[in-house]
Symmetry: C2
């Protein structure tokens, strides 16, 4: 099955497309750039979703649901916001179809809407129009609302999970009494994103601030997590925005302060999307297919029994059932593959699907009171005694989680360079990698480097040390230390 | 707080609107007929969702996600289907906005799509266009896929949760080898819907078949669960469709059978929506507000401490904490209300929000080593000893679940009449109630009764006994026993 998978180091992009397809993760829908998330891919997303949902609930956030449809006039209320999204909006203009003798089913021209409707590309505007109704006093604050939803951004060049016209995400929209509180929330969420990415997806990230050019349309400041993919390009994996009072101003949302004044409300918004599934594939995948971190893997352990006839099936089941029960009791997600395919076929298939551990069990193992366990991350095969298999398997899953993170982190660190000359920057960008260096803080430098190298400033890392650095482009004193890279 | 709530028996509709609003369940969005589901309402929906999600997973179904956008031509492929949905479609025609000097932000006419896009009103067409790619052989069957999604049906007269332009739902779409298997699936799901409604929502339902006039556009047969609301009107709470080979034909989805022939695939689809939240409100609510069944209540137990100063706060906390911990360990959802409102205000508020059990605890209770527990379903107050409060509370929650169901079932049964004359039918429809009687099976009778009484045939109940019955309208022998009622 894996015979024809393109090699990652020869054709990373072709490899990605094939893995998404063959692992049964997703497919394109009929409308340009839309995505069908297949059951295996959806379960992966759902596990990511549940992990993050627990985190935000534990920090006092609640879920709600706001409408898909936004009046066109709302989008226009925040000038930068509408500019940022105007070129990728799906616009609803009519509400009926009708039968036409010559053309078949047509849009009924009489159903034209007075005001066109935008399918949400993000929900700041509609949510702040509601917050205006809900927030009167400091007693109503903070509002810590999140929603899991679909959004639409009309894209010309699309790629499953990474850039699709419709995608699934969460978007948090919080309202606060003070600038300090909003900033604290923005950074708390950034930390949750780091945790989600590193502890669950096993994807190491740099946390940082976006430049003015790269920040969210309507934000004062955009913080982000940036990860390095297997081809050494960067992927923006999540953003947390301090919106200041911009949306409160646009929607006239004021509150009575503790000292009885009227003030505009302070806001944040933040999101991660199905793009995270792309990050997992691009970070951990190898030439055999996916490698999934156990914490989010739809199947953590697959059992491939090796048998010749029904008698052996019964014996293997008797032998393996107690282990399965014990693992299930510990909430381990197990799949047994009793199909009539050959063991070799099954090995390839479950490797393609990235299942962290494979248990092989046949008559010989029964005679030995052992099991063979194969690790997807290292391809190592380990013989376990039947007796303590359960605990060993649980330990191994934790080990794999850590090992995937360590591998990815080593790879990223090896390919992240501190440079002090523009020539080095250009060389590394061509060869592949992240460049940490000084930037003079000007839009011109940022634009020039982008134009000449196709690399963008991914972020100003939170741990920047700009002191004594020079801008590699202009030679002027650096205002910031930044990370340049080509990005998805 | 509950002072101004309209009385249910005077103004049921006004009462409903007020309860939705005051209990903090939902609000209208800015685009006509769209709904904002507020955190408390969303948690209620989420609990319903999770209950059903567990059921379908336990029966072998998996979740996936299909695109929001459907090409117009797809909808047209199944003739009845497009006719059923043509009049309520949101149509996307453009993909960009632009700035115009005289009109501000306008839709860019140059972004007009070649083929218009429909925002899904339901997903049969897009899903079967994908199944065509995925299904080749009987080995690929059955396909048992569900999705949780938003859908849009442009509605003129809307009502929060009951009828909104956008709503949330699950839609199952299964594919089978044979007519028998599809029929079995249709009925299995009907049974899960009954279970969800009766065992979780505590809403008793009749299961039955829709008439040809009332069935889903594109189905061979539509099964449904029908419930009686507090005003004795019917609410269709879920439908399960046997689609026969209609969509397989429309999208040319054939498979290689076990005996090597080519056959069209057999299909079902089925859905329940946020309308279920409406059913819960309309079934259980009383003049004080919501009454929520414990199994789906966002908060199962609210603690209202009665204190004068910080010293008392500490004492009460010490006293109550072990009980809270013990309940939380049993996964009971608890909320403590330490706000500075008066106890009376809090009692009213939590009654409005329908929390099944309220614990009142003050200094006197500590002295007695007791707690006062108030049941929302009966208003009964019970004194519990501190020692065995935890177990008693868990028992009480189960009792309340059962008691809400029993009350609703008694009410429904009392207001369901078997009649044999049209005069009786008309009288009961005016007074309020369900009418079980004979129907001659003709569209004419169905249409006439609807025209004259506004009652529709809700379903042919699964336990119908049409033998020896006459049609109350035509006097001809009954083909079916049916249930007539006015409906939401």
């Amino acid at each position: 099955m894996s015979k024809d998978l393109p090699k990652r180091d020869k054709d990373f992009s072709g490899w990605y497309t094939q893995v998404v397809n063959r692992a049964g993760l997703a497919d394109y829908g009929p409308v340009k750039g839309t995505m069908v998330i297949k059951p295996y891919g959806f379960q992966l997303w759902d596990n990511i979703k549940e992990s993050f949902d627990r985190m935000i609930k534990a920090t006092g956030h609640v879920n709600a649901y706001f409408p898909l449809f936004i009046p066109k006039s709302f989008l226009a209320k925040e000038a930068e916001h509408v500019e940022g999204f105007a070129k990728e909006c799906a616009v609803v203009t009519h509400t009926r179809l009708k039968s036409d003798d010559t053309h078949g089913i047509i849009v009924d021209p009489e159903s034209k809407l007075e005001e066109e409707i935008i399918v949400r590309p993000t929900s700041e505007t509609i949510i702040w129009s509601m917050y205006k109704k809900w927030i009167q006093s400091y007693r109503d604050l903070p509002v810590l609302i999140n929603q899991w939803a679909n959004v639409v951004r009309w894209e010309m060049r699309t790629r499953l999970f990474l850039r699709t016209s419709e995608f699934l995400w969460q978007e948090g929209h919080t309202a606060h009494e003070s600038a300090e509180e909003a900033q604290e929330e923005t950074l708390n969420i950034l930390e949750l994103y780091r945790k989600l990415s590193e502890d669950y997806l096993a994807v190491p990230v740099f946390t940082g601030i976006k430049t003015e050019t790269e920040k969210f349309a309507g934000a004062d400041k955009t913080y982000c997590i940036e990860a390095m993919m297997g081809d050494k390009r960067a992927l923006q994996a999540g953003t947390s925005h301090n919106l200041g009072q911009n949306f409160a101003k646009a929607f006239d949302v004021t509150f009575q302060t503790r000292d009885n004044k009227e003030e505009l409300v302070w806001a944040t918004s933040w999101g991660v999307s199905t793009r995270l599934v792309g990050a997992v594939i691009l970070t951990h995948g190898d030439d055999k297919g996916l490698r999934l971190p156990p914490r989010i893997a739809p199947i953590q352990v697959v059992i491939v029994p090796i048998f010749k006839d029904d008698k052996q099936v019964i014996k293997i089941k008797d032998y393996i059932d107690p282990i399965i029960l014990a693992l299930e009791k510990k909430n381990i997600r197990i799949h047994q593959d009793w199909s009539d395919r050959s063991p070799g076929y099954k090995f390839n298939e479950w490797e393609m699907k990235g299942v962290p551990l494979r248990i092989e069990v046949g008559m010989r193992d029964i005679d030995d009171s052992t099991l063979i366990v194969a690790r997807r991350d290292t391809s190592e095969k380990i013989k376990l005694s039947h007796k303590d298999a359960t605990n060993k398997i649980i330990d191994l899953l934790e080990e794999i989680q850590d090992s995937l993170f360590d591998q990815a982190k080593k790879f990223r660190d090896k390919n992240t360079y501190r440079v002090s000359s523009y020539d080095d920057l250009k060389r590394i960008i061509i060869e592949g990698g992240f460049v940490r260096c000084g930037w003079d803080g000007t839009d011109e430098t940022e634009a020039k480097v982008k134009e000449e190298t196709k690399a963008t400033i991914r972020c100003i890392p939170m741990d920047e040390k700009p002191k004594d650095l020079l801008c590699v482009y202009s030679g002027n004193p650096a205002k910031h230390e930044v990370i340049y890279a080509k990005a998805y």
